[in-house]
Amino acid sequence: MAWTRDQMAARAAKELKDGFYVNLGIGIPTLVSNYVPEDVDITLQSENGMLGVGPFPLDNQVDPDIINAGKQTVTEVKGTSYFSSADSFAMIRGGHIDLSILGAMEVAENGDLANWMIPGKMVKGMGGAMDLVAGVKKVIVTMEHVSKDGQSKLLKECTLPLTGRRVVDMVITEFGVFSIDKHGPGGVTLVQLADGVTVDEIKAKTKAALTIGPTVKA
């Protein structure tokens, strides 16, 4: 069973609080904006220099000068502001953004994150990922639980070059929700099971030391 990409996004959206300023990465994180609860109002930041990012434009609304960090055409909302990329990352690095949701290749039990390069393959660059994970108040990773070749992506230690050290607070995979004690010794705790998934299944597919949270039925 497990969660679909949309279900993962919907679960991530439950972490949004009214008034939050949020930066969403590409992929599953982008889907999160489709599931913002009705009583919650959030403002999206795009690290190229835009606060208040609206939905994709209608065909006749496209403005080439309005793009998000994924270079996609987007729209303004009421209250949008633009600023330089230096000011944008001052905002990010200075801890003024409440939440960043992004993808990952690997997450370690101490919160280490790897999502920007694979040695031996062509490297495209880290873009703003290192700044986001270092600066934003809370970092949630949405990712597949295992890699295409069946390896756990939730590890004791990352094997790939790091994007950030002790930066991830929460991981959402198709199997469930995991919290990480990134500043302490607590490691990974399973806090919610996806529908139709068992704790044993997760244990079998997770290399990080795993604590089963009190709210989870084994």
Partner: protein, 233 residues
């Protein structure tokens, strides 16, 4: 006032270009990129360039023009994933790349223009980015020292400019342009619309005239879209 206005990109770059220069380029993706200036640099044939730019354009646009002709020796960028020529040159060992986290790159340029030789940031601590760099602990947390960047010529693109060099950017086309304008010995700006001095509201000016040494109107512009993403009505 000493004249800053030139008739086109070629004229605006006259006498400035030579091999091995360090160019500071505004733009993010294909937005706010000084396309006319880049084309004029290509036409000049200078080579061995170091380009500080967040991205490397795509094939046929942006800094892609200078990559195709082999005029670039080194890029200092945060993300070059869109450019196929880039990958080919890099794998053939014909191009150096120094990856900087995007915020660190933006801040290094801002620092270079602001007379700040170095600053500390959390970004990249404990990663490859921090290797070989000094680190320092402040209030119990480790930071890495990053250096300011200052180049020979800044190439920027603005929406409106006045004849004294004041610039106004439009929407997300602002991006790296304001910092780049400050971080070189010489800044050349191309604008979509060149207006008389006094026609821009003093509270709306993003880049004050002091930074811009040469300016020209590059209209008309055919703005490219990298990822046309739309929704249905």
């Amino acid at each position: 006032m000493a004249n800053k206005v030139y008739k086109d990109a070629k004229a605006a770059l006259d006498g400035l270009l030579r091999d091995d220069l360090m160019l500071m380029c505004g733009g993010f993706g294909l937005v706010g990129v000084p396309d006319k200036l880049i084309a004029a640099v290509r036409d000049s044939g200078v080579k061995g360039l170091t380009c500080v730019s967040n991205n490397a354009g795509i094939d046929g646009a942006g800094l892609g023009l200078l990559l195709e002709t082999g005029q670039v020796k080194k890029m200092i960028s945060s993300y070059v994933g869109e450019n196929k020529t880039f990958a080919k040159l890099y794998l053939e060992g014909k191009l150096e790349i120094e990856f900087n986290p995007q915020g660190t790159l933006a801040e290094r340029v801002r620092a270079g223009g602001a007379g700040i030789p170095a600053f500390y940031t959390k970004t990249g601590v404990g990663t490859q980015v921090a290797e070989g760099k000094e680190t320092k602990t402040f209030d119990g947390e480790e930071y890495v020292m990053e250096r300011g960047l200052f180049g020979d010529i800044a190439l920027v693109k603005a929406w409106k400019g006045d004849k004294s060099g004041n610039l106004v950017f439009r929407k997300a086309a602002r991006n790296f342009n304001p910092m780049m304008a400050t971080a070189a010995k010489m800044c050349v700006a191309e604008v979509e619309e060149l207006v008389e001095v006094g026609q821009l509201d003093p509270d709306h000016i993003h880049t004050p005239a002091v930074y811009v040494k040469r300016i020209f109107c590059g209209a008309p512009y055919d703005k490219k879209i990298e990822q046309r993403t739309i929704r249905k009505a």
